[in-house]
């Protein structure tokens, strides 16, 4: 898509000029003109009193430089650390199977490092085939060897879609692979679907600091590459009797200019609590003060839950960053998520919307958090929560 000014309608009133966060609208021959710095944020669309600013569909993009149809199959790059495959890899096999079925193609996994029993787990979680290298260079994560071998495999086997977790590892080396093979990469996807008309991968991700969602396409180059946040996709079926082939890949000639000398484990208690908790009670800007979190703590204590927070609450320094849920914090998936005084910017929603049950308490009936809530309570947190706490105590006989 592009955003353009209809010169016939534009009166040159300049109203739109200040609406652009990127200063991409200028006056040219007494008409508004959107220049090359437009980032498609659409802030200008509604401010034009004449309705002269419009969104148009475009087919512009890179020329078809690759033989698209020769690329087949869905690949999941499985991340391992200390020889154990990360859970997000199994989630991606679940998503990958769906995409592979839609494309009537196979599902493969790629594993660098770890032993054969881990490669077998990828088969049990749904992979038809595993490309596995046990070369010593993959004992620790270094970008260059990962990039080199994965790029070689892509050139040789030509997958159509290539996914990995949006973890520090995936987000570090996948961009290099994309640059090496000359294709597009979409970061931090929260949804992946196949466009039934074109067969292209529709990649949905948060945009503009997580204020809104965007669908991204990579229509002319292959493979289509994406990183996906952990805990967003559901795992597929585990089948211990599942069968597939494991291809061993040699990488003896691959070297690295970086070297990992130590790996240190350092997991804060809040991090573990947040990601393992069945119940999360989270607070946002609407709490208005640091003391609000004491009340949340009491509720969380009664429910055996952990404390989460929106970026706004963390920015206010009411609570440490380790509690932050959202695009720039943790992604969580508890049974119950209770959002207190959180308006629900997309930045926050992408970190918690796959929770089983979402309860939202907010004064503003139009708050976007209510769009994802199973139970919506329009009201003052400071009036509602104390009653909930009281009633819970009664139920529990405290």
């Amino acid at each position: 898509m592009r955003i353009v000014v209809d010169n016939k309608l534009c009166t040159g009133c300049e109203t739109c000029l200040s609406s652009c966060p990127y200063d991409a609208i200028v006056l040219k021959d007494d008409k508004a003109f959107i220049n090359e710095y437009c980032q498609l944020c659409r802030a200008c669309l509604e401010v034009c009193p004449e309705g002269a600013i419009k969104e148009i569909e475009t087919g512009v993009g890179v020329e078809d430089t690759t033989d698209r149809d020769s690329f087949r199959g869905v690949w999941v790059f499985a991340e391992q650390r200390d020889g154990r495959i990360a859970d997000v890899s199994f989630e991606l096999l679940g998503a990958g199977r769906r995409l592979a079925d839609a494309r009537e193609a196979g599902l493969s996994a790629v594993l660098f490092g770890a032993d054969n029993s881990e490669a077998e787990r990828l088969i049990h979680w749904g992979a038809d085939r595993v490309y596995h290298s046990e070369a010593p260079v993959f004992e620790h994560f270094n970008d260059e060897p990962y990039v080199e071998l994965l790029s070689r495999l892509i050139s040789e086997h030509r997958p159509e879609i290539l996914l990995t977790g949006a973890t520090p590892t995936g987000r570090s080396f996948f961009p290099r692979v994309a640059a090496r093979v000359g294709t597009g990469l979409t970061a931090d996807c929260t949804s992946l679907e196949i466009d039934s008309e074109t067969g292209n991968l529709l990649q949905v991700r948060p945009a503009f600091g997580g204020n809104i969602m965007a669908t991204i396409l990579c229509p002319y180059r292959r493979p289509q590459m994406a990183t996906v946040r952990p805990r967003v996709m559901k795992k597929g079926q585990y089948d211990k009797t599942g069968t597939g082939e494991i291809l061993k890949i040699k990488a003896d000639d691959i070297q690295s200019k970086t070297r990992v000398t130590e790996t240190i484990k350092e997991v804060s208690e809040t991090m573990v609590n947040l990601q393992e908790a069945d119940v999360i009670v989270a607070g946002g800007r609407g709490l208005g003060k640091i003391e609000g979190f004491q009340m949340l703590q009491e509720l969380a204590g009664l429910l055996g839950g952990a404390i989460g927070a929106s970026r706004a609450a963390v920015d206010e320094e009411w609570i440490p960053y380790s509690h932050q849920v959202g695009q720039t914090g943790k992604t969580v998936c508890p049974k119950i998520y209770i959002a207190c005084g959180i308006s629900g910017a997309v930045q926050h929603l992408v970190g918690m919307q796959s929770s089983d049950i979402i309860i939202a308490i907010n004064k503003n009936p139009d708050a976007p958090i209510f769009n994802v809530a199973n139970y919506a309570i329009v009201g003052d947190v400071y009036e509602v929560l104390p009653v909930i706490i009281q009633k819970l105590k009664e139920v529990k006989g405290i």
Binding site: S18, C20, P21, A43, D143, P175, A179, G182, T261, V267
Partner: protein
Amino acid sequence: MKIIVCIKQVPDTAEVRINPETNTLIRDGVPSIINPFDLHAIEAGLHLKSELGGTVTVLTMGPPQAEDALREAISMGADEAVLLTDRAFAGSDTLATAYTMSSAVRTIGFDIILCGKQAIDGDTAQVGPEMAEFLNIPHVAYVGKFEEINAGMLRVQRLMDEGYDVVETSVPVLLTVVKELNQPRLPSLKGKMKAKKSVIKKLTHPDIGTEEKNLGLAGSPTQVKNIFAPEAKKDRKVLTGTPGEQAAQLIEELKSLKCI
């Protein structure tokens, strides 16, 4: 030691709001700032210069008004600033941006390149690693601490989800940095005076030897198909009444779901 810090001028997304009816951003006086992670990259550049000597050059790709961000970097202590600006760069995705930036970096000359871990408007974290690939140099992402600094070798801590790795890398290298690395200094008065007088060098497409087919929209494999706000859940229950009634309904619902 030639140190280049790549920065981006961004709208302060923490201040951006959405109009729920039209799904458009409301700018409403949202200020343009240096991407917060890039401030830590600038600080890291100044620190490396104090240890190893050399110069710190800040580089950005953007519209003419991105000069403000470059001048702010100079006021913090950067030696010189370069603005990469050309109509041909229009519509660049991360791949085209990284191609263009890396071409500029090669033109300027470099030993160590520093970037913030990601920009707060796009949050992709892709341009840094992609630049390293175009330059055929190693990179280390999410650098949270310098352990040892030498002209030929850096030992750094790379933050991971559950702890950190100690990574040694040869130089030249590209590093992307996180907030834990340092506390960015504030501009000094002397720095501000210097920033005012500084001449910002401008580079365009012909200056950096880029190929047109790899630039801007033509060089961008990814496209934005559409932009939307998330849809409402269909099975939502609105609990009404006094706070007491709302609380009572919620407790009943949770009981029926066997949550309590």
